[in-house]
Amino acid sequence: MWQKVSNLDRRWIYLGVAICAALPLILEFILPIPATPPVKRLFDAIENMPPGHFILLSMDFEPSTMPELLPMAYAITQHALSRGIKVGFMTLAPAGPGMIEIVLEDIRKAYPDRKYGEDYVNFGYKPGLSAVILGIGEDIHRVFPRDAYGTPLEDIPMMREIHNYKQIDLVISLSGAGYPDAWLLYANARYGQAVATGATAVMAPLYYAYLATGQFVGMLGGLKGAAEYAELVRKAGYMRIPEVQHRVGVQMSSQSFVHIYIVLLIIVGNIAFFFIRRSGGR
C-alpha cells in the first residue's frame, strides 16, 4: 500500500491542491487574520503621519506577482488617501504602469473627493533603477520632468513643494524582485530615507534582517501581509473598496486550506518513505 502511495501520479496531487484552493473561494468564508508586528509597524508609520505629508509608492512589480502585491497597493493607497496623505505612484518595473492604472481606476471611483495632482500623482515608469533612485535624491522633477500622462511636473500643484527625499516622508517599494534592496542601498543608506516594503512571500525571509535593524520601517510579506494590512485598514474605518479586502481575506482562507493539505502530504510521504525503507524496498 505504501508503495502505491509513494508512486502516486502527481496529477492527483495537483487535483487535490486545486480542490483545496477552490473550495474556500466558492464558499467565500474568511478565517481570522491577526496583524503581525512587521505589518503593524508599517500601518502605524502611515497612521501617525500628519495629513498633507507625502509617501512615494513604488509599484515595482508586474502581472506575474499581481495576486500578492496588488492588494497591498490597494490597502496602502486607501489608508493614505483616507488620512489625507498625498501619494506619488511610480514604478521601476517595465510592466508596472499597467499595475498602477488598475489601482488608480478604482481609486478615482472610490475617492471622488481626492483630486489628481492635488492628492495623488502618477509618475509612471522610468528605466535605470539606481540612477532613478539616486536622481530622486537630487530632484524628482529632473527624473520625471512629466507625469505618466504628459503633464509637466511644475504644473502639478502638489509637486510644487516636493523636490527630493527631504519632502518625501516614506518610500514603499512593492516588489517580487530585488527592487527594495536598491531602495535600501541608494535611498536609505545614502540619503537616510525611510523605506518600507511589500514583498512576495519568496522575498520576505530575506528582508527580516533589514526589518530587525530598522532599515525597513515595516514589511508586508506575501498574500498574508496584504490580508493583514487590509484588515487593519478595514478595522480603522478607512476601507472604501471593501471588495478588495473581502477577496484577499477569502484568498487567505484558501491559502490556509492548501497549506494544511501540503503538510498532510509531507507527513504521509515521510511515513510511506519510512515503511518502504523498513520493508527493504527502494
Binding site: R11, Y14, V17, A18, A21, A22, L25, I26, E28, S64, T65, M66, P67, E68, P94, A95, Y125, K126, P127, S130, L134, D181, L184, L185, Y186, N188, A189, R190, T200, A201, V202, A204, P205, A209, Y210, A212, T213, G214, Q215, G221, G222, L223, K224, R247, V250, Q251, S254, Q255, V258, H259, I262
Partner: protein, 219 residues
Amino acid sequence: MAISHDPWVWAAALLTLAIYSFLYKDNPFYKFAEHLYIGVSVGYFLYFIIWQQIVVPLIYDPLKALFISPFHAKELLIIPPLILSIMMLGRISPRHAWLSRWPMAYVMGMGAGLAIPAYFQTNIFKQIEGTIISIPPATIEIVTTYYLNKLLVLIIVTCVLLFFYFSREHKGALGKATMLGRWFLMLGFGAAFGYTVMARVSLLIGRLDFLLHTWLGIH
C-alpha cells in the same frame, strides 16, 4: 452566477486554462499560450522599453534639440554618453569589439563606485550594528524578551559564521558550535521553503479566483 461578457476576460481565462493544461500533459494549447506569451513579452519590451523609454526620450529628442540649438550646454551633454553608447555597439563586430571596453569600463567603474559604499553601509555595518544593538524595546514589559532575543541572535549568528570557518577541523567545542550552526541554517532553509510554497500557492489562488470569480461569476 453571472458569466463575464468581457472578451478580454474570456481571452485571459482561456489562456490561463491553456497554461494550466500542462499539469496534465504537454499539449498544443499549452504550446500556443507559451509562444504567444513570449511574443507579446518581446514586443512589449521592444516597443515600450527600447523605443518609448530609451530611443525617443534619451536619444531622438535630445538629438533633435541639439540640431535646433547646437551650442546650448544642456543639449551638448548628450554627446559623450552617445559616443559611449555607439562604442558599446562595437561588440557586434569581432574586429571592433575592443571599442566596447571603454563604455564597459565606465559602467563598471561608476556602478562599483556607487554600489560598494552603499552595500557596505546597508549589508555589513548596519547588520553588524543590528546584531549587537538592535531596535530598543518600546515598553518595559518586553525588556526580558528583548534581551533573550538579542542573546539568541548573537548565538545563532556566531554558530552559523563558525560553520563557514574551514581552517580548523570541526571537532570538540568548535564541532558542537558548527553542528548548531548547521541546524540553524536548516531552520532558515525550512522557513524560506515555507515562504516559497506560500508564494507559489498565492499565484495559483490568484488565477483560480480570477477564473471562478471574474470569469464564471461564482459568488
